[in-house]
């Protein structure tokens, strides 16, 4: 941890969403006029169910195509090189440092935990059809790093399959971390995890952000949002309607009315 924190953070990447619209069956689900993500190390995206948070994240990854609009990333911060994400296929995102974890549990049913993690770290070069002797090089190159994560999160049987929903959720997060993202989007990363593991995930996220990765979290567990995020975006009915610090957002009248309810502390 200390190594990462001591290294000088590079300029934090930024994602710009401009005029992005998505409708399903004629109903507008996302309509974001202008949004900048990555201003602060860790940002939260909150809002009631159906606000369009997950769809917006999927639009950024281009796994849901936009009806119109443009989404771009500046990997070296504003003013640097621009990558138009909405022109790229989904699989090209990870190679450019943009990685997203999944809201619903996603796993490879026939791959073991080790398989899954080695798969995440394997580069295209060692996955070519003729590289049938590349396994040991891949394993040797990443063994320590993977063992580190496995020990940190305490998987039951890493050579076997992920057993519980919690293990699958963790596996999804570890796969994302192994990709060494410059910009990490986490969609409900702690849903279904016990408190102890939630803390561990949060610590990892803080560590990553301190080393210069921009992190955006969608989360319904608002304690995670309030304790982690430097800035929070509030989304309702497809649009981002507020932006502010945790304190500002949780005290804002609109957020209380539309999402938190009067009794929220």
């Amino acid at each position: 941890m200390s190594d990462l924190q001591n290294s000088a953070p590079a300029a934090r990447p930024e994602i710009r969403v401009e005029g992005a619209v998505k409708s399903f069956s004629g109903r507008v689900v996302v309509d974001v006029d202008e949004l900048v993500l990555g201003d602060q190390p860790i940002e939260g995206l909150i809002g009631p169910n159906g606000a369009g948070k997950t769809t917006l994240m999927r639009m950024i990854m281009h796994s849901t195509p936009l009806d119109r609009g443009r989404i771009s990333m500046h990997p070296d911060g504003p003013g640097g090189e621009e990558i138009v994400l909405s022109d790229l296929p989904t699989f090209a995102m990870a190679g450019r440092g943009l990685v997203k974890s999944n809201q619903v549990i996603m796993d490879f049913d026939r791959l073991t935990i080790w398989d899954s993690l080695l798969f995440a770290v394997a580069g295209a070069r060692c996955e070519r059809p003729y590289r049938v002797f590349a396994e040991h090089d891949l394993f040797d190159a990443h063994e320590d790093e993977i063992r580190g994560y496995l020990a940190y999160f305490g998987f039951t049987d890493p050579m076997g399959f992920a057993q519980s929903a919690g293990e699958k959720k963790l596996l999804d997060i570890v796969r994302c971390l192994l990709l060494k993202p410059r910009f990490l989007m986490l969609d409900e990363p702690t849903a279904g995890l016990p408190d102890e593991l939630t803390e561990k995930v949060m610590d990892k996220i803080r560590e990553l952000a301190a080393a210069g990765t921009a992190v955006v979290i969608v989360e319904h567990d608002l304690n995670v949002i309030w304790s982690l995020c430097d800035q929070v975006h509030f989304m309702a009915e497809g649009s981002v309607i507020l932006r502010g610090t945790s304190e500002e957002i949780r005290a804002h009248k609109t957020v209380v009315e539309k999402y938190l309810g009067e009794g929220h502390v």
Binding site: V99, K100, W114, R175
Partner: protein, 316 residues
């Protein structure tokens, strides 16, 4: 060498068993690992065979064997590979039904072209004039050597598939077959991966088609029916689509048992040997397929065991 024990019938039977094992192994990469159902095996196999045959016979080559054979065979393999690339490009993003229909449709196109392009293929009359690329003493010795070469080729295919299971490439195929969106989110080009395995598999099927053409030395369009695809699919499904040994076990128990044991050693009525046996074979294969899918859908050997494989490779 004394080859008295090996009659022409046994050579053809063994050749057919090993060839179908080879096809089923290639199909295992596509269907068992990457989960792309290919019901057009005979199309790629037949295209390889006919491109080789037509070039070998119809082109006025300035040189003789082995170059004449090697170039024609290479063209057959390349043509099958390119057709795999094109068909793969069309079907890779379709759902399972679309993939089945698309590949089956391709095999039908190959059969229709081979039947109707009579100037090139001699159509239903059959294309003769093919030869072994070497001359040993008699026909039986030539055929026996060709069977041996086929066994070596199929063993190499099996060795490759065995290595694929133990490589990052195999993991990529299993991952793309299992959860394509997740693989893509981890930066893996799923479409290109599927296209690759389809192309390589089709080229391999084309090679086996070329080898069959050499053994038969006479190409008939009746070979391009669904029988061969059915044999490879049934063999693979019976053995276990996801297992390396699935094609071997499955094909031995279906094609091996029927084409060699039953046809050679069971006293079937002589009158059956014309029309009845091929029909009977398809009926039995169809019934076996239904039975396996109902009672043991993952095949005799069951699903792949990556946990065992990982432990054997990386300890613990």
């Amino acid at each position: 060498m004394n080859l008295n024990w090996l009659d022409a019938f046994l050579i053809t039977g063994l050749f057919s068993v090993f060839m179908v094992i080879g096809l089923a192994l290639l199909l295992h990469l596509q269907m068992g690992l990457a989960r792309i159902a290919n019901f057009g095996v005979v199309g790629f196999w037949g295209l390889g065979m006919y491109v080789y045959g037509v070039l070998y016979v119809q082109v006025d080559w300035p040189f003789d064997d082995p170059w004449r054979f090697l170039l024609s065979a290479l063209a057959g393999v390349v043509a099958a590979g390119i057709s795999g690339l094109l068909v793969g490009w069309l079907i890779a993003d379709l759902d399972e039904d679309g993939v089945l229909l698309g590949t089956f449709g391709f095999a039908t196109i190959v059969w229709i072209l081979a039947t109707t392009e009579t100037a090139l293929t001699k159509g239903a009359l059959g294309l003769g004039g093919l030869q072994f690329p070497y001359r040993l003493g008699n026909a039986k010795q030539n055929e026996a050597l060709w069977l041996l070469i086929l066994i070596v080729v199929v063993a190499l295919i099996m060795l490759y598939v065995w290595r694929v299971h133990r490589s990052p490439y195999g993991r990529l195929l299993v991952a793309v077959g299992g959860n394509e969106p997740l693989a893509q989110s981890l930066g893996k080009p799923a479409f290109r991966t599927k296209l690759g395995v389809f192309t390589v598999g089709a080229a391999g099927m084309g090679l086996l088609g070329v080898m069959y053409g050499v053994l038969e030395r006479f190409l008939e369009t009746s070979n391009l029916g669904v029988d061969l695809t059915l044999a490879a699919v049934v063999g693979l499904v019976v053995g276990g689509t996801a297992r390396l040994w699935g094609p071997v076990v499955g094909v031995a128990l279906t094609v091996g048992l029927f084409d060699i044991v039953i046809q050679s050693y069971i006293p079937l009525p002589k009158s059956w040997y014309g029309q009845a046996i091929p029909v009977l074979r398809e009926m039995v294969f169809g019934a076996v397929l239904i039975g396996i899918l109902l009672f043991r859908p993952l095949g005799i050997l069951g699903d792949m065991r990556r946990d065992k494989l990982m432990r054997s490779m990386h300890g613990e």
